[in-house]
């Protein structure tokens, strides 16, 4: 049984639907990345799991099964016993996520006292232990400090300490490093991964930073305009992204004889904007997709399995891949091998975030074919 299984979740706000028929599962101890650009619904999905949506949001349909029990059917006291204890949350902005008028000891202590009902002394001892665990120096003095006495990185560590205080099975990290500088980012993510292993915790990592995903996640879900468009393991995904949007994100192209360096050619981008998905009856990416066909606009394509552990919401891509797969062997750029092979950007295994970043993975970067004028975006070229 999966630790968390989201089935067909749809969440609406007055005026638009933020999350549409989203389904995914997280297994105990793994890191699942939920990736997409701003406004694609990833944070809303995460908050739905903890039922911390703003009052004007409505969960229209779906189930959220945590260890088999539907959280959407849980009563308020039941949810309160789950939050902080079984499922925790880390937010993006450490400065505003901590209460400025309470000491960090008080804020860590209150979750411990609420769930584990320890005495004051025991709570304080445990809080100091937690601060040590997240590598805050001089913990027994820092515990009485206020948030404004700490740096951004330290505040995020305090948030992590609060989140893991009661040993949750699932930690939801909503863009935990977006507000931090690059060096601190690496430290915080290191810490998260370390804690994950020590405490056997699963992590739902929400981010728009593919570099972070590549280094820390086990599996990835790509979201676009409220829908999940691709689900895959990390290595297969980065080796060979399939959905046209994913390919746009990674700027990848499956081209067996391509061996160019990205800097040799100009970048091109996914034309249009995500706003074009509004009111679209079919696939939300259709207005911008170069592989679009008439059937795409009729109804939103479902997530179909391509291979074990890999699903794509693009029948066009799937059809093309399965044809090719019958004819050709899988592209020989070591897709699935832990070590990157030679040639091409696509299959290089990135050993640190800066490597991946310098390889130009920001949204929409797409190196064109060699020694030609850059062609318009075509969904990544022929498969």
């Amino acid at each position: 049984m999966s630790l968390l299984a989201v089935e067909n979740l749809s969440v609406a706000f007055p005026g638009h639907v933020a999350v549409r028929e989203v389904s995914f599962a997280i297994e105990p101890g793994e890191t699942l990345a939920l990736v997409g650009e701003s406004g694609c619904g990833k944070s809303v999905t995460a908050f739905s799991v903890m039922r911390l949506l703003p009052p004007n949001a409505r969960i229209v349909s779906g189930r959220i099964l945590f260890e088999g029990a539907d959280l959407l059917a849980a009563s308020a006291p039941e949810m309160r016993s789950i939050r902080g204890k079984q499922v925790s949350l880390i937010q993006q902005e450490p400065m505003t996520s901590l209460n400025p008028v309470l000491s960090i000891g008080a804020q860590i202590g209150e979750v411990i006292r609420h769930h584990d009902k320890l005495s004051h002394r025991a709570t304080r001892a445990r809080s100091i232990e937690l601060l040590d665990l997240v590598s805050i120096p001089d913990a027994h003095r820092r515990i009485d400090d206020y948030p404004h006495n700490l740096s951004g990185g330290m505040r995020q560590r305090v948030m992590i300490a609060m989140a893991v205080a009661c040993g949750p099975k699932l930690l939801i990290a909503d863009e935990p490093t977006t507000a931090l500088d690059v060096t601190t980012q690496a430290q915080v993510l290191d810490l998260l991964d370390d804690l994950r292993r020590k405490l056997s915790m699963a992590v739902l990592l929400i981010t728009h930073d593919l570099g972070v995903v590549a280094q820390w996640a086990d599996r990835i879900n790509v979201m676009y305009a409220g829908r999940i468009v691709e689900q895959a393991g990390i290595e297969p995904f980065f080796a060979r992204p399939m959905h046209p949007y994913s390919r746009g994100l990674l700027g990848a192209r499956v081209d067996v004889d391509a061996d160019e360096h990205y800097s040799a050619n100009r970048l091109s981008e996914i034309p249009g904007s995500v706003g074009s998905a509004m009111g679209e009856a079919g696939c939300p990416f259709a207005p911008r997709c170069p592989l679009v066909e008439a059937s795409c606009r009729a109804a939103p394509p479902p997530l179909l399995a391509f291979e074990a552990g890999r699903r794509v919401a693009c029948p066009v891509t799937l059809a093309a891949s399965s044809e090719l797969r019958d004819i050709l062997p899988p592209p020989s750029y070591g897709g699935g091998a832990p070590e990157g092979g030679g040639g091409g950007r696509q299959h290089k295994r990135f050993s640190n975030i800066s490597d991946l970043k310098s390889a130009g993975t920001p949204t929409g970067a797409l190196p064109p074919r060699p020694s030609r004028a850059p062609p318009p975006y075509d969904g990544g070229g022929k498969l």
Partner: protein
């Protein structure tokens, strides 16, 4: 916190010294501008207005001396904690004020506490039901109280509770000559206190309610509220411990600015209810041109405001650890 108290006190003393001096000089000069003096009033009241009696009166109370001399005399006495002598009441000004000061402080403290308590509760309710009918209804009620003169609220309260229902008295601070003790004494005092305190507080309840509402709504939008919810804490506990403490910070700032108004409002309310306080004393002193008393009252009122501001500052610092952090 103890060190903070000391530094604040020292800072205030240094800062307030010249201010108090300025107040004394300003008020003194202001009073000199008033037509007539105590001798005139006494003489007119007693019906004896011969030139000799008036000259004698003036000489007795030093009213015939030049202004600067009078001022110097006053300051000289002040350093010895002597506020002078009242021609009208025939007792030392300090004694006069001391008999009235406790009543005023009691009234003001009660009114302020009531206003804060009611204001915070009403404001929190308004914020919790923001946009829905409890909020709308309360907003109208609050706005009405903001617009009604405090003394008129007092008058209407007297009509309702004193005249029609007969529950509460409408005059004085206690039943004179009843010689009550213990619980009966307290309850008698309380009965006399409620209506004046409510009248004085009515305006400020509205101010604080509106402020708390705005402040709580602002706080609800902060990220740390979601953090608190994500910890699984009970919503009421979250409002009390996380939201309210932050929301009260602007309230303390505003409450500090109101102390002057509170004292001023006390003048009318005390007169209306026959409350034996400093406000009523001040009014009588103005009418009687009893400058010594008036000066004493003005001085003491200003001191009260300064002290109260210090208290508010300290309260503010206690609520918000970010203050003085640098």
């Amino acid at each position: 916190m103890g060190r903070r108290i000391l530094t604040t006190l020292r800072r205030t003393a240094i800062h307030a010294g010249p201010t108090v001096l300025g107040i004394i000089v300003l008020d003194f000069l202001l009073l000199q501008l008033m037509p007539g003096d105590a001798a005139d009033v006494i003489a007119s009241e007693s019906g004896v207005a011969t030139a000799e009696t008036m000259a004698a009166l003036r000489e007795r109370f030093g009213l015939d001396q030049p202004v600067l001399t009078q001022l110097m005399n006053f300051l000289g006495h002040l350093v010895q904690f002597d506020l002078g002598f009242s021609p009208r009441y025939n007792m030392s000004v300090l004694d006069m004020i001391m008999t009235r000061l406790p009543s005023t402080v009691l009234l003001m403290a009660t009114a302020l506490s009531l206003a804060l308590l009611l204001g915070i509760v009403i404001g929190s309710v308004m914020a919790a039901w923001a946009g829905r009918w409890p909020d709308r209804v309360l907003s109208v009620v609050v706005l009405l109280f903001y617009s009604m003169p405090g003394f008129w609220v007092g008058l209407m309260a007297i009509v309702l509770f004193s005249v029609k229902l007969g529950w509460l008295p409408s005059d004085g601070s206690m039943t004179i000559g009843a010689n009550l003790t213990g619980f009966a004494f307290l309850s008698d005092r309380l009965e006399h206190l409620i209506l004046p305190a409510l009248a004085l507080a009515s305006f400020f309840v509205a101010v604080y309610a509106r402020l708390v509402r705005a402040s709580m709504l602002e706080v609800q939008r902060q990220d740390f509220m979601r953090t608190a919810q994500a910890k699984g804490l009970h919503p009421f506990f979250i409002q009390l411990r996380h939201a309210l403490r932050n929301a009260l910070i602007p309230v303390t700032t505003v409450a500090g600015m109101h102390l002057g108004n509170l004292l001023g409002g006390a003048v009318v309310v005390e007169t209306l209810f026959g409350w034996p306080g400093m406000g009523r004393l001040a009014l009588e002193a103005v009418l009687a041109r009893d400058f010594s008393v008036l000066l004493g009252v003005l001085l003491l009122s200003s001191l009260l405001v300064i002290i109260a501001n210090v208290v508010i500052d300290l309260l503010h610092a206690w609520l918000d650890p970010r203050i003085g952090a640098a």
